[in-house]
C-alpha cells in the first residue's frame, strides 16, 4: 500500500520570481531559508510521487467552464506558461495517471465529484514552490486544482473533507509507493482589489496558530468567519486546509513566516505532523 511521507505548505507569490531584485536582503534570506528547508524535508522523506494542491490562475480554466476541484490525470503536464517563468527548468512534467485515477475513483465513492483533465498546464502556483525549494529532478506529479480565485468557492469544511478523502485514497492505493503532498498559496494577500498590497499579519499569525493546534472545528470556524473579511488571495488557504485533512489533522510545524510587502504576500511555510498510518 502507498503511504504519506510528507505534507507541506508553501506560499507561491509570483513576485518572488518577477521582482526578486526588489525583495529586501532580510526577506530574501527568510524566503530562501524557508523554501530550502521545505526542500530538505521533502528530500529526506524520499517520496516517489508528489501531489500538489494549488489554484489555477486563469491558465487552464475560465468562467465558461470553471471546476471547483480538478484532478490532473495526464501522463504529462505542461510547464508554466507565464513568460516570466521561462527560467523554470521543466517544460514537460511527468504525471502519475494510475494514482490520479485512484484518487478520482475514491472521491466518487465518497460522494465528491471532481473534474478531471488529461492535459493541464502547471502555472506558477505549482512551479514556484517546487522550483525554489530545489526539488529537482521532479518526481511524477499529480496536480489537484482548487478554485480559489473566482467565487463561489468550495467551502472550508468541504476542503477539509477532501483532504481526509485524499488520505484515504493514498492509503488504499495498492502499490507500495511513498507520497508527498504540497499545498501552495496564501497566506494573506490581496490582488487586483482596492486593498491590493495589504498584508494582514495578525490574521496570518492567528491562522498559523489554528493550524498548529490542529483542532479542525476551531480552524474551520475561524476561516469561515475571517476569510470573507480579508484580501482575496487568502482564499488559497483552502489548499492548506485540504493538506491539513490529508495529514490527519494533527497540526503543523511552522517552518517560516515573513510579511513581504515587496511581493504583496504574507508568506508562510509549514510541514504537518503526520498521523501514524
Amino acid at each position: 500500500m502507498a503511504r504519506i511521507v510528507g505534507v507541506y505548505a508553501s506560499s507561491h507569490a509570483p513576485l518572488i520570481v518577477r521582482n526578486w531584485s526588489g525583495v529586501t536582503p532580510a526577506n530574501k534570506v527568510a524566503l530562501t531559508s524557508a523554501l530550502t528547508e521545505i526542500g530538505r524535508r521533502y528530500k529526506s522523506a524520499r517520496p516517489d510521487v508528489l501531489i500538489v494542491i494549488s489554484p489555477d490562475h486563469w491558465v487552464n480554466f475560465f468562467i465558461d467552464n470553471l471546476p471547483g476541484i480538478c484532478v490532473g490525470m495526464g501522463e504529462e503536464h505542461e510547464g508554466p506558461a507565464e513568460p516570466w517563468m521561462k527560467e523554470f527548468p521543466h517544460r514537460k512534467i511527468a504525471g502519475h495517471p494510475k494514482l490520479a485515477n485512484h484518487i478520482v475513483q475514491t472521491a466518487l465513492e465518497r460522494d465528491f465529484e471532481p473534474a478531471i483533465s488529461y492535459h493541464l498546464t502547471l502555472d506558477h502556483g505549482f512551479c514556484i514552490p517546487i522550483w525554489k525549494a530545489g526539488i529537482d529532478p521532479l518526481p511524477p506529479i499529480v496536480p489537484i486544482i482548487f478554485n480559489d480565485l473566482e467565487p463561489p468557492f468550495p467551502t472550508v469544511r468541504r476542503c477539509l473533507a477532501w483532504g481526509s478523502m485524499l488520505r484515504e485514497a493514498i492509503e488504499s492505493y495498492p502499490e507500495d509507493i511513498r507520497v508527498a503532498i504540497l499545498a501552495t498559496g496564501g497566506l494573506s494577500h490581496s490582488i487586483g482589489e482596492p486593498t491590493m498590497g495589504e498584508i494582514d499579519e495578525p490574521f496570518d499569525h492567528e491562522c498559523i496558530r489554528y493550524f498548529e493546534k490542529g483542532d479542525e472545528r476551531a480552524l474551520v470556524e475561524f476561516l469561515n468567519e475571517r476569510l470573507p473579511t480579508i484580501g482575496n488571495g487568502a482564499a488559497e488557504i483552502r489548499n492548506w486546509v485540504a493538506a491539513h485533512g490529508a495529514a490527519g489533522k494533527r497540526g503543523f510545524e511552522l517552518i517560516g513566516y515573513c510579511n513581504v510587502p515587496e511581493v504583496y504576500v504574507g508568506c508562510g511555510f509549514a510541514a504537518w505532523n503526520l498521523a501514524a498510518s
Binding site: 490562475h57 486563469w58 491558465v59 475560465f62 468562467i63 465558461d64 506558461a81 513568460p83 480565485l149 473566482e150 490582488i191 487586483g192 482589489e193 482596492p194 486593498t195 491590493m196 498590497g197 482575496n232
Partner: protein, 93 residues
C-alpha cells in the same frame, strides 16, 4: 456579477503574448473581435479601472492592465479609487 465578454478579452490577452502584442499595437482592431456593450468598450478605451473592476475577476483585472502597459503604481492608485467609489455608493444606500 461578471461581464462575460470583458472577462474573455482580459483572459485572452493574458493568455497569449502575441495577442497582447497586437493589442498594444492596435487596440481597436482587437476590441472589434469582442461583442462588448458600448459602455464597456468605452470604459476599456479610456482605461477605466473603476468601471472594469466591477465587472471582472480582480486577478484578471490586474493581469489585463499589466499586459496593457499600465504601470503598477498607476494601477494601485486607480484600484484604490475603485474601493473608495464602492464605499461611497454603499454609504448612499
Amino acid at each position: 456579477m461578471r461581464d462575460y465578454w470583458l472577462s474573455k478579452l482580459f483572459f485572452d490577452l493574458q493568455s497569449s503574448p502575441s495577442a497582447a502584442a497586437e493589442y498594444r499595437t492596435d487596440r481597436r482592431k482587437v476590441l472589434d473581435r469582442y461583442p462588448l456593450k458600448p459602455e464597456v468598450r468605452a470604459a476599456v478605451e479610456r482605461d477605466d479601472v473603476v468601471f472594469c473592476s466591477q465587472r471582472v475577476n480582480p486577478y484578471l483585472l490586474r493581469f489585463y492592465f499589466f499586459v496593457a502597459g499600465m504601470s503598477e503604481a498607476d494601477f494601485l492608485r486607480k484600484v484604490k479609487v475603485a474601493g473608495a467609489d464602492a464605499a461611497a455608493r454603499s454609504s448612499h444606500g
